[in-house]
Symmetry: D3
Subunit: 296 residues, 6 copies
């Protein structure tokens, strides 16, 4: 089971301009084969289907707890896309057609289907698919996959970073490069425990330190590259059997933290009457909401 | 953000016989268009992309909190499939081919790809897809969709119930009929608040009371059809602006409960050496696990 | 069985400029999940598979007759796309590459695959799929679905309307908003007959009257929002058991009309030699056609 | 535009036993790449997008009128599947699970999703897709495609015929082999008009006469292999510029008939309470229907 | 079995400017339904599954040997796409975002996923699919399909030619028009052998001679339109039973050549550090490569 | 470019009984995500798109040459499926329906679409897809992927081995386990050259030696686990910079062999008149073939 908290993992900066093309690109990090929906669903299914979870508890706990964090990553990428879309149709060259700017955007579904918000698909507007999940049940193979998946995800994040200098996109990517780095290292260490192979020596893939990205470096200064959270108030604490020793980059100790990061505020987005979202007459909704608020 | 608890929403009975065909059918309730992955992902995306969440907080809280519950539903259906597969290859007519029973099962991927566990696909083995998510951003339309989605999900559950009398499948379906009924009613009430239409009078669709299913009736006797959980220790409490009044079936008061149900135990599944899951030599894993347990 | 008439449901205005981006957007109304192919195929399949069509004849007649109308809607959207493409490559910046303008259009298949005409896919160029059809066989659920489907289709039409002020697109959308409104109301009334719930009170979704759109209002002045056609010379007349009473908007009587609307002219489109359509040498075709005309 | 008649193209015999596996196979003839949905949608789109329909009227009329017939073919295949399913769950080994026979059928969706009726997908349960449509706009290429498509469709029909001796399936296949043969010949003659190549000499593909199939031969005796219908009361009459001369098999004259065949009765299917279709309580529906019948 | 040679079928000119939009269009010729992957995979599967290959050796040899050539065609189209991408991000308006030009390209995957190289998908970025393969096992039908497939492929090539005057794209298309013409004629002759129908009289489809394209005419002057290669040092020589007589265009003799064309140089592409391809630090790779070179 | 040889990589034993269910399972090794089409297409695309192939020649040569071998692997799996299908409809319980046994097989397309031969799809009949190809352009990441891909492919092979004791299937799997092992080791060594990580120490995944499989052990006795072929008469010889040292299992020297294995005979399959393959009247084909043989 899961409980929810109405927070993002970090505060996102306020966007100062819309960038629907960047939003389309960031969709790859949400619903692409190597996006956050994929990491989420891979680990979720692997944890559901884990055999011998008691005997192999540290490994189970690792995959199960990272699932918890990935839920928040999907949420964070979604919020980023929404921020990048904010204002996309604030001014149209065609006064009779307020959504006309959508015709110039790469992803028409953002305007026709999703009311200028994120969708569970990739940068080409193709839907995320269940067969992006790899779950062989063989622990070594699943861990090897997860290590590879994190490296692929890192590559796509670095490329999207190179595609746009929009500060909201970069803040999110900086953060996720750090957290993704933690997961990559964790899977590398788990693989090493079983096979004895020093997998972490391959890192980073691609071969460019997070420290080279100012938006990532900021979070590393806070030590976030050394912390693995249980994402549970009580369970999954045996991740500390795997997450031990020092970080290979700075030599400082790895730490397990019970629970989750403090988190940031979830942005609230204004009505878009030209999309009929949340409805044509915001005033009516105001009345309904007011009526409900008075209850109790 | 989300936190995880290592519990299922209910205790599942121990399976006494494998039924891979029933497992294939139950996949529809996991990864089909009207399965739990769909309800989860619909509400998750709708809550990510909700506009004016402050002004329309009760509606936002409703969709956001049900997302939390749906995570546990996917988990429960997955555990059911895994239970139905338990023992599927315990005896093979062909002693040289221990997985030969898989050739008679409807879903070959269960044996070749997933090591006899659940997969994010439907009863025909087709992967779940991101375009099963409906998220128009128009609140009335999204609520109408959710009401319809829950009714469609109920129909499929009732049909799978009719397909198999396996007690694990029926325990899960009985529980989900009750909880799905709560969500249907909640969306009906939300729709009524905005439109004034007494949508709940359409219920149940199909027109057969949960009380006719002994496995559902059992949970209704515990009052579970009247409880809506926040699935959060702190947030989403404004669901009590919508979840008010009495239940239309028994006239007893609807109740909001902070947090989540007490839950049941997650089953642990044995190694399947014939699938190389979690690995060929369970003994080796035992050593590794023992070594890790000694740490700290 | 069906018979065909070489007419469109309405006359479309002659286009004065090409707009391939608008054509790409209008594809959503043809082959998107909520496009006319979807309404057509949903009702066609539901009518094929209807159980107890004699006992429940008014409901069967309703779904079966609307199928007839939807065929014409697909045809009308297709003609609109073709009109929007007309002239798309009439002048190219690159004299050696007459199709070069296609490189700037959102849908490259329009130029490489379909010779600048419509295709059975959506605004992202993704093919229409058979699993967009919902057909549970449960009448209440199917009617609820159809009501929802029409509301979703309306939302997408309104958004595409907001994306382009091209007069051909808007004429078509204006007409379909009116006819879609008739179908929505018809399904609402059918649902009400069975469940007693006043579903039509939810309408319109989104909450903006057709009268606000001049291209729709024009057709409402002709009373087209109050007419349901049998789309059959002889059958499906029991739709008058459901299509009774007055229209909720203007209080005037609902009318059933035997057959179909008078209709308009189907546009004929010129050869596109740069696409080799219908062939490189129109003159040759002229000879062949002349030869055939002489026969008999 | 199209009008509908509540008739099948032929009378189907009453089924005396259910055969869900044969029903699954027949789905290929409905929603497979070479099924009737494909022929329908290919010709429908080609007729929508035809360039120079006036100048090339005989060719346009040919494709446009065959579209009309194909609508009835899809309907006929659907009715066949429904007949083959009739009684599929009339007795279950598991008295508590009336749908249990569905677990042994190849297509679980027939039982969970479609209430034992046809679906717009193929014999493997995969949905029909819009990219099965070929519509290049080049007339010779489109006609060549159509000739090929009809030959492929014939091959699949002959193979499904070889898979089952169920009389309902064979009656339908016998009829469609004859009518498909007409369409194949028509496209061959159209190709010959333009290119001068005697394409019809390739026929039949595969190389086995319809006369070898008693269920087809029966319809040939009625001359149905020599008749091309306009499927329109008024339009598409220039098909008689192409459909001229004698039939290559028996040397008798080809005939154009205005309108459509006389047709047969559409079967009505009983309620399936175990599927909740059309609803759990047929009695309630009876009351509603009776109330509606009384109107006017 | 197959052996590989490190050569392209022809020398491609050096590109002088990047054109990512043209590259996106050329993808249709690689991974579209009528692209080279499709011709390759159709013939490969047909040759794998050919029945009675000894008795029908000339036909088998034909399909089997053309498979060999198609491998090189896919390679050539891929090299063309890579050339068209060369320099696509050599200058970015946003100095902090070197991949920003990718946001203006039609295919975002070219930049995020494939490091500015070709992908096995079509012009809309949709993946090539196995069901593009037609392989009925009926020889006449398969040959008819192949003839149609080649004509469809020719049409798409001619349209992409019309879309871009980029010399690399046109050189490749010119060559493939000639070689595709050879395959079309070969399948036409094979069909004629069996059926007696003079299929080749339909050619060319579309009706415009290769001689009208200067980049094709150049290769015809070398006689490449009259040569069929065995693409094998020893096998498949019975293609000379089918590839006999004179070419219908120029009346000169058709020739079978053992083996394959002489071929051209494969272009080598520079590192793209902004894509981390082949790695961030080309120097490191240099060291590794140098070390390996020293071995032995 | 590629040349073809009319040989299989090994001789396959003659099948003594058909096993359509095993054939369906073996499809996973052909067209599944981890089947031979995937390894082929991954390496083919990576070699097409390789950057700095001169500087990094040993790595390029490795991927390029393995591509050559994979072509033969797809061919071998296809031949195995065809052998497993041989005789599948030799006797039918229903004398009027010779293909009736197909109704009991898991893959209906094998009987309706492919005339009892292999298809480019997986064990569930789903088509192979282009997005199974991973090609990031980053060399370390691509090599890591390839190592993972080979391990996944090995897992699926071992499971299919466990599903059937059919000698044809096992002969093929035994051989491919050995050759796949060579490729896994080669990618591991390549990765080690660049990263210094002793990846090969992870092998084998799953953790069961090839020597445990008698059909694999047989080929290891011939030393096939130590040989890497260039699959080219002239090129790709720098694989000997990577394929150096001794085999980790038996300590014997790794060897590079120019060219390819000697290979075995390709089986020829009889006509299947009930599938109209290669045609209804084998006699006619005999005449045609005889006529062609007489030429020259």
């Amino acid at each position: 089971m899961f409980q929810r908290f109405d927070k993002l993992q970090i505060d996102l900066p306020m966007p100062d301009k819309a960038d629907p093309a960047a939003a389309a690109a960031v969709q790859e990090l949400m619903g692409g084969r190597f996006g956050e929906m994929s990491t989420l669903m891979n680990y979720m299914n692997q944890s559901f289907n884990f055999r011998q979870k008691k005997k192999l508890k540290p490994f189970y706990d690792l995959i199960a707890s990272i699932t918890g964090e990935e839920l928040g990553h999907v949420e964070l990428v979604s919020a980023t896309i929404n921020s990048l879309m904010e204002g996309a149709t604030s001014s149209s060259d065609d006064p009779k057609a307020p959504l006309a700017p959508g015709l110039d955007a790469p992803n028409l579904h953002h305007f026709i289907v999703n009311a200028q918000t994120s969708m569970p698909g990739n940068s080409m507007g193709q839907p995320w698919q269940g067969d992006y999940v790899f779950n062989s049940g063989n622990l070594v193979l699943d861990l090897l996959h997860n290590f590879f998946l994190e490296c692929g995800a890192r590559t796509h994040k670095m490329r999207v970073y190179q595609m746009t200098s929009h500060p909201v996109a970069r803040e999110m990517i900086g953060y996720l490069l750090v957290r993704g780095g933690v997961h990559t290292l964790a899977y590398a260490k788990a693989l090493e425990e079983i096979t004895g192979v020093d997998v972490k020596k391959m890192m980073p893939i691609p071969d460019l330190d997070n420290s080279k990205y100012e938006e990532a470096e900021k979070f590393e200064r806070l030590g976030l590259h050394r912390k693995l959270f249980t994402f549970s108030p009580e369970d999954y604490r045996d991740i500390d059997k795997i997450w031990v020793g020092n970080h290979p980059d700075d030599g400082k100790p790895l730490e397990v933290e019970i629970g989750m990061p403090e988190g940031g505020e979830k942005p609230d987005f204004e009505a878009k009457p030209e999309e009929f979202a949340p409805g044509y007459s915001p005033e009516d909704f105001y009345d309904i909401a007011a009526k409900l608020q008075k209850r109790m």
